[in-house]
Symmetry: C2
Subunit: 416 residues, 2 copies
């Protein structure tokens, strides 16, 4: 099979469409609207999360049940959700139903019913979701770490990264039909990207999308910068937690940087499977924690390293010490064997990550949003194959995330 290349168009009106043709009976698409929980207005945290649920409560003349039945009648499956920077609407199904599926999502965004009676139900569900965080210390820690590491800039109109998609109890209590309607005017073509994978003529798909979204206004998204607070140490007391949960956030590499790929390889050597440094040092050698991992996080166009470990309260200090020591020895570089394993693991995950229609549609959208272009899978594999240990170690020699790391722990004990 010739390596597929994506077609990318900016449609009249401003929506960006990426299409990759793939033989087979199915289709998938993913629409990313650049309005997320970070765009929630200050004091109305939860706007984006509640609005997304509300959109599904009927559209295009159908009520909520009618809209769900329209999806079910065609065997269509929904995906998506609200993240800090964007809200995603995905659908997959059988090829002949692509026009109908695009029509349904266009209805959702352009002709939603937004029934006022549903709003109290939805804010109540969001409140329950927030209360549920208390029962899940790792999730609660993730929220607290985000809040402490990325505090809201004092003058921004946006609530930023300091709260989860479900909002805050105060923010939810201030949501009204009117202010959510106003928030909804942010949604539009500006910055929105649609990734489509199907077995169809590119021109045909373009026309379909143009027709479905004709007349969609530009909206108003706006970027929310991620102001990282380095070097913080904080403990969040949580009486019911039996474990101590640790979160480490540290500077990383931005997607546009020439070091991006070298950083990915280094992170895989640090935390990719049973031969990785963290798994070995923390779990296999010392038995300090039942789970430990590190991964890249993108916020406000920048990359960060985010690590997590779950330990006992007694072993937590040593776990943190070992974790930070592993970050501190990154500048000394990888061994040849580590480099080979990390590169092989990444190469396989590039291929298998693009395998399913749904994942590839999401990949197209993510590439456009994060890298400003679609990176063909074959190009990614070639770049990995061309990468050398010297190149990675030259990057690592100047990459020292440990001193700026912000550490947040959650578990028994007093606030620190």
């Amino acid at each position: 099979m010739a390596a597929p290349r994506a077609h990318v168009w900016t449609l009249e009106g401003g929506l960006t469409l990426a299409f990759e043709r793939r033989p087979g009976p199915g289709f998938a698409f993913d629409l990313r609207v650049p309005v997320g929980s970070a765009h929630d207005p200050v004091g109305r945290e939860g706007s984006a999360g509640v609005l997304e649920e509300w959109l599904y409560k009927g559209a295009g003349g159908r009520d909520a049940r009618g809209f769900q039945d329209a999806l079910d009648d065609l065997g269509l499956r929904r995906s998506g959700g609200v993240g800090p920077e964007a809200t995603r609407f995905g659908v997959s199904g059988l090829g002949a139903d692509l026009p109908a599926a695009l029509g349904l999502v266009a209805d959702l965004l352009r002709r939603p019913a937004l029934p006022p009676g549903e709003l109290p139900v939805l804010t109540d569900l969001a409140r329950q979701d927030l209360e549920g965080l208390e029962d899940s210390p790792p999730d609660l820690l993730a929220v607290e770490a985000r809040r402490l590491a990325f505090p809201r800039p004092p003058v921004s109109p946006f609530a930023g990264y300091a709260h989860p998609a479900s909002g805050t109890p105060e923010g939810l209590s201030r949501l009204t039909v009117e202010n959510l309607h106003t928030f909804f005017t942010r949604y539009g073509t500006r910055g929105s990207v649609l990734g489509v994978v199907a077995d169809a003529e590119p021109g045909e798909v373009r026309s379909l999308v143009e027709r479905a979204f004709a007349g969609w206004g530009p909206g108003e998204a706006g970027e929310v910068p991620a102001d990282f607070r380095p070097g913080l140490r904080a403990h969040v007391p949580h009486g019911e937690a039996e474990q101590t949960h640790l979160s480490v956030t540290a500077p990383g590499v931005s997607p546009g940087s020439p070091d991006w790929l070298a950083w990915q390889v280094a992170l895989t050597a640090l935390s990719g499977g049973s031969a990785s440094r963290l798994f070995h040092a923390v779990r296999e050698e010392r038995g300090l924690a039942y789970s430990v991992s590190a991964s890249p996080v993108l916020l406000g166009g920048r990359g960060f390293l985010s690590a997590y470990a779950g330990s006992t309260p007694e072993r937590a200090p040593e776990t943190l010490e070992v974790l930070l020591a592993e970050l501190a020895r990154l500048p000394r570089g990888l061994t040849d064997a580590e480099f080979g394993r990390a590169r092989a693991g990444l190469a396989a995950s590039v291929v298998f990550g693009a395998e399913s229609l749904r994942a590839r549609a999401g990949g197209l959208t993510r590439d456009l949003a994060v890298f400003g272009r679609v990176r063909p899978v074959a190009e990614l594999r070639a770049s990995l194959a061309a990468l050398t240990l010297d190149r990675v170690n030259a990057f690592l020699a100047g990459y020292d995330p440990a001193p700026a790391a912000t550490v947040v722990t959650l578990g028994p004990g007093e606030a620190a």
Copy 2:
């Protein structure tokens, strides 16, 4: 793309190989050896489960770490595990590494190290797994329901379906290096099936597999019949459970039956998504249970309907009543809308279920084991398209699972 057709060969020695060519850079395979926990000898429950873990502790001259590194060096990913009727060994990775991956799995099965020192560690892990069941009432209920609905036939040498893959505490305590070596002699080509999906010449794949598994003995599997005990009512007291968990097992349709597809459609109408009968009757209309579902289960070559609901102790009796009422009204047939939705949902899941290499390799193997042949995806879709509501309702008129249903509940309260 022309619909791919699988090549199927029975190799010299007896192993069955199914290969489907698929363009692209990745491969996946799935080897199914027809020895599972149901084959555990009476009194040595846990044999199959512990043996599978033991096999990964080194093979072909490599120790456990060396074997894992050999996988990681190539970016290979393992899948598989022990079920009641079979043990599966799966690997996926990049095309060029298919020969090496086949060699590693062949080593595992033909030249395992089986280091005696690891055995106590593995039986201890299995014991922990059994103890962990106590913390997960739905899993514990599944085990108890299996034990009660499919009791061990009194004269069988096989322990059968009455225990989980991790065995029983007594069974684990009787496992020895010697009796596990004896159990391992069951593994072999007889009844074993290997599904491979890759972009390679069929003849080449056949030769690769022949070479890798040359000389593998026939082994000795044996079928374990599933003797269903209908009409049972039992309650398993579980003081720590806050909920009452319900399990219903009822007769179904066997894979070889001409009614198989009609049954699948009926089960999808009963329990496939938010428009399904169970979801609607139990959750949406009455708010009786937070989760309710029904699915087909295959045991000993026969099909059964297995339903589950989690409810409060107070609402459990009504939940059960509603659930059984839904089974009892199946003979009255589906509506046109239900039929359309169920068929559309199944058609989409047939396509998306065959999408990933790993899933398709597992599908090839499952088809060979369950249906005795590979069902092409296009054929399945055509059969679904040809199915009519009349055909489904004619089947349902004679399908009355409710009277023979066996019901097991787990939660607070005395044994019933």
